[in-house]
């Protein structure tokens, strides 16, 4: 009997790229639901819009570059990029924000650099930074979380759709439904030499982070821990980021709690938890060796805090991740494991 010769390993593969990406999407669901609870269905509309644009652009770019469509569209990497971007923009941001963001992510950051596996910068963060710099006003319009505004003011599905597509309806005003984020307030307050305890009097602060935000972060962390348990991501980057933030901010807080926020405040506000588990762990633009991952995480933490404290933006995770993306190959170069039998 004749057979076609196959190469080893002669076992069904344990994993596929699309399986990895699908698990990442699955792990994001608890955090997404928490965001919908606090900020309304706008979150879901943004996710849907971004996915739509991302998949269309991915398809067009694959076509242009003469790549096979099916295997690459079904790897879900564009979908993950779209969701992560959508979670970073205000829930009622106009639709073209998503479009611009996805052009930056899929066309520029991903395909112009050679497509899946070749991009230097995290596409979702490139997209976020592009829209953040290009449309600062739209990007600051964060809704007040549930519990801080009247429930009837929280925009419903139709109102949200209308706002995203054609602008705010006449019966609503941005001032009534948006609010400065905890990180905004913190930054402004510290600049005006207010005490932390004074700043934290604002209702937008919760028990240890921002109101609502801290719960959202908890649910993202839940998904992230599930990813670690499933071995989709390793623990090194999330632990390195969170531990570094605590270790850097703890001495300052111990030294002067009136002008330095408690470490937990740093972790549970902004996008830090989302970043630690889902963004900085992007394998393509990060480090591959274990030691490299720890250094990468440490770098993200230091840069985030630096930007939060001294930079022009209230949150710095996106910039921090992009800056560390540049360092990743160099870090990998210097954290090579020792090969078997080679001198220590």
């Amino acid at each position: 009997m004749e057979f076609s010769r196959s190469g080893a390993p002669h076992l069904p593969p344990e994993n596929t790229v699309s399986k990895v990406m699908l698990q990442v999407i699955l792990a994001l669901i608890p955090g997404i639901l928490a965001m919908v609870w606090f900020f309304g269905v706008g979150v879901l509309i943004q996710i849907a819009l971004s996915i739509l644009f991302a998949v269309l652009l991915e398809w067009a770019m694959l076509k242009l570059r003469g790549k096979p469509i099916r295997p690459f569209l079904s790897d879900y990497s564009a979908v993950v990029t779209a969701i992560l971007f959508a979670l970073c923009i205000p829930p009622l941001a106009p639709w073209w924000i998503s479009l611009v963001g996805m052009i930056a992510a899929i066309v520029v950051a991903k395909h112009l650099y050679g497509g899946l596996g070749q991009n230097i910068f995290n596409p979702a963060m490139v997209a976020y930074v592009v829209v953040l710099i290009a449309f600062p006003l739209e990007l600051t319009r964060w809704l007040a979380p549930r519990g801080l505004i009247d429930v009837e003011l929280l925009p419903g599905l139709l109102q949200s759709l209308q706002t995203i597509i054609s602008g705010l309806p006449a019966n609503l005003s941005w001032d009534a439904i948006t609010q400065a984020t905890p990180l905004d307030l913190l930054k402004d307050g510290v600049e005006q030499n207010q005490m932390i305890s004074e700043i934290r009097q604002a209702p937008v602060f919760g028990n240890y982070g921002g109101r609502g935000w801290e719960w959202i972060a908890n649910f993202f962390a839940l998904g992230g821990i599930w990813l670690i348990w499933r071995r989709v991501i390793s623990w090194h980057i999330p632990v390195a980021i969170i531990a570094s933030v605590i270790m850097i901010t703890l001495p300052a807080w111990l030294y002067d709690p009136s002008s330095n926020p408690i470490p937990l405040q740093h972790i549970f506000s902004g996008a830090l938890v989302l970043c630690a588990f889902f963004i900085a762990t992007d394998p393509v633009t990060g480090c591959a060796s274990r030691r490299g991952k720890i250094i990468f995480g440490l770098g993200v933490a230091i840069l985030t805090l630096t930007i939060r404290l001294w930079g022009g933006y209230p949150d710095g995770v996106a910039f921090a991740v992009l800056l560390m993306n540049m360092f990743a190959p160099l870090i990998d170069r210097y954290t090579r494991p020792r090969a078997y039998g080679k001198p220590r």
Partner: protein, 535 residues
């Protein structure tokens, strides 16, 4: 206290980095005892002359010749710079052809095979059993191992006599490797359960050859039955003070020589060196059993235990098969294929080689014939780009960066491979298996290694050419300076001769004599004579 030293080998277990916890399918083939019924004689045996690592053996039979079972068909030859091994007739019969046939080899190429048609008598040549091997000298024992054509039966098929020859005097520990770590393969486990005494006797012979007091038999943790059987044999043979059975955790590729040494001793075999350099010799348990057969019974290596298994086989089991048996005969002995049969593999699922046909023969390296169904191999996977996930880094037992290596090889940047230690790769296939992008990493690494080898040879040649050129230049320059020096010396000698008058007088006398001798001398002959005098 530092446990990681050769003195403490086997006392404490250590870890090796990476590795895979794989689902095992050993029970498929080794839950049953060996079949009482022997594999019937095949009509024709296909015996490749190159079944070992090294040179193909020199054929000493010719077509039409009648041979007996156990008669040597080919010998290693004299030029012993590269290793070789004997190959023997698996049964009695007639040599019908010596020709190129496909053989189980990763290249898929043909190789010289001796075709033997069995006469059905199965007549042995006259065997020379030994009643007390202790009377034999080391050299005699090694020679018997060589004459029996014994090679490493774990799959590496390195001629065992050469290993023993090289290790004599410098070895203090022998490790018998029974840590069969590929899922599906169970021939060593079966051997340890069925014939533990053979292995222990082999170990005792080996300890005499190597003049050592420490033999470790390494088996995998779950092999409880093997452990008991081996222990009993050790007791009955009174070898408890010298032979120890060590159970190592089940983790692929634990059975790799270098990984096993790391687990048992906590130290690594230095790069570019062999375990012998650490005083350790590793042999497969089946090799030890074959040594017992060769020394005590005088039987050459003409058969081995083969695991025939996989969902593609009706009755998976371990079978004693003669070297040269067409695989198809083994398959039909095991009830034939199941309807879903899709591919045939020699070896385990991680390192085995795909076979193009079941007409290929069993060779000394055939530890397992694995028949896989469509469900086992799933549809051919599309190769996706590397996403740098680092899973391969995590499982690599050699501490390499497979994802960087494949990138470098794709870019044909072969110079970088040395720095990335590609030579440390043992081709275990862990990275290949774990890769979510289904990149055939090991194939890339083999290609990279062969390119590296080609480059090394080319570099050596060009270095040699350069050396030759440099030497020639130097030689020429040296000749030139020497010539000049001679010249100068002579000039000085001429100029510095104090007795000028004498020399002038002598010259005049010479000139006169010349004039007398050759009255019609042409002018230029003067200079000729001059130079003649000078030299």
């Amino acid at each position: 206290m530092d446990h990681s030293s050769i003195e403490n080998i086997g006392k404490h277990l250590h870890n090796f980095p990476g590795g895979l916890k794989l689902k095992h399918y050993k029970a498929l083939s080794c839950s049953k005892p060996l079949p009482a019924q022997q594999l019937p004689l095949s009509q024709e045996y296909i015996i490749p002359v190159s079944q070992h690592l090294g040179r193909p053996a020199e054929i000493i039979v010719s077509p039409g010749q009648q041979v007996k079972k156990g008669q040597p068909l080919s010998v290693p030859g004299n030029a012993s710079s590269t290793p070789g091994a004997y190959v023997h007739a698996p049964t009695s019969g007639e040599i019908v052809a010596i020709e190129q046939r496909p053989v189980p080899h990763p290249s898929g190429l043909n190789s010289t095979c001796i075709i033997l048609r069995a006469d059905g008598k199965d007549d042995w040549i006259e065997l020379e059993p030994v009643t007390d091997y202790r009377q034999l000298s080391r050299q005699q024992l090694i020679q018997r191992v060589q004459m029996a054509g014994i090679v490493g039966l774990g799959g590496a098929v390195f001629p065992t006599d050469i290993k023993l020859q090289g290790g004599a005097g410098s070895i203090d520990t022998l490790i018998l490797n029974g840590a069969e770590c590929e899922p599906y393969i169970s021939c060593d486990e079966t051997l340890m359960k069925q014939d533990p005494e053979k292995i222990i006797q082999g170990a005792l012979i080996l300890s005499q050859v190597l003049n050592i007091k420490r033999v470790l038999v390494a088996i995998e943790d779950p092999m409880d039955a093997c452990y008991q059987k081996l222990q009993t044999s050790i007791k009955t043979l009174g070898a408890a003070d010298c032979i120890k059975v060590v159970r190592v955790p089940m983790l692929y590729p634990e059975g790799g020589e270098r990984q096993l040494i790391q687990v048992l001793s906590g130290t690594e075999v230095p790069a570019g060196k062999l375990p012998v350099s650490m005083g350790i010799l590793v042999l497969n348990v089946a090799t030890a059993a074959a040594i017992k057969d060769a020394i005590i019974d005088g039987k050459p290596l003409i058969e081995r235990l083969v695991t025939v298994t996989g969902a593609g086989i009706c009755e998976p089991q371990n079978v004693v098969a003669r070297i040269g048996t067409p695989i198809a005969d083994l398959i039909s002995f095991c009830g034939g294929y199941t309807p879903g049969i899709a591919s045939l593999v020699m070896g385990g699922p991680l390192m085995g080689i795909g076979l193009q046909s079941d007409s290929l023969p069993i060779i000394k390296a055939s530890n397992c014939i694995l028949a896989l169904t469509h469900a086992d191999i799933s549809s051919p996977q599309v190769e996706m780009p590397c996403i740098n996930c680092g899973d391969c880094v995590g499982v690599c037992p050699a501490g390499l960066l497979p994802q960087t290596l494949q990138m470098v090889i794709r870019a044909e940047n072969f110079e970088a491979l040395e720095e990335l230690n590609l030579d440390a790769c043992i081709e275990c296939g862990c990275c290949d298996y774990i890769c979510p992008s289904h990149i055939p990493l090991v194939d890339y690494f083999r290609y990279g290694k062969s390119e590296q080898r080609v480059r090394t040879v080319e570099r050596k040649q060009s270095d040699l050419a350069k050396l030759r050129f440099d030497r020639r230049e130097k030689r020429l320059a040296k000749q030139q300076t020497e010539r000049r020096a001679r010249h100068l010396k002579r000039k000085q000698a001429l100029a510095g001769s104090s007795d000028k008058k004498d020399s002038v007088a002598a010259a005049i006398a010479r000139a006169k004599a010349r004039k007398q001798a050759l009255t019609t001398t042409p002018r230029d002959s003067d200079s000729n004579t001059d130079s003649g005098e000078q030299s």
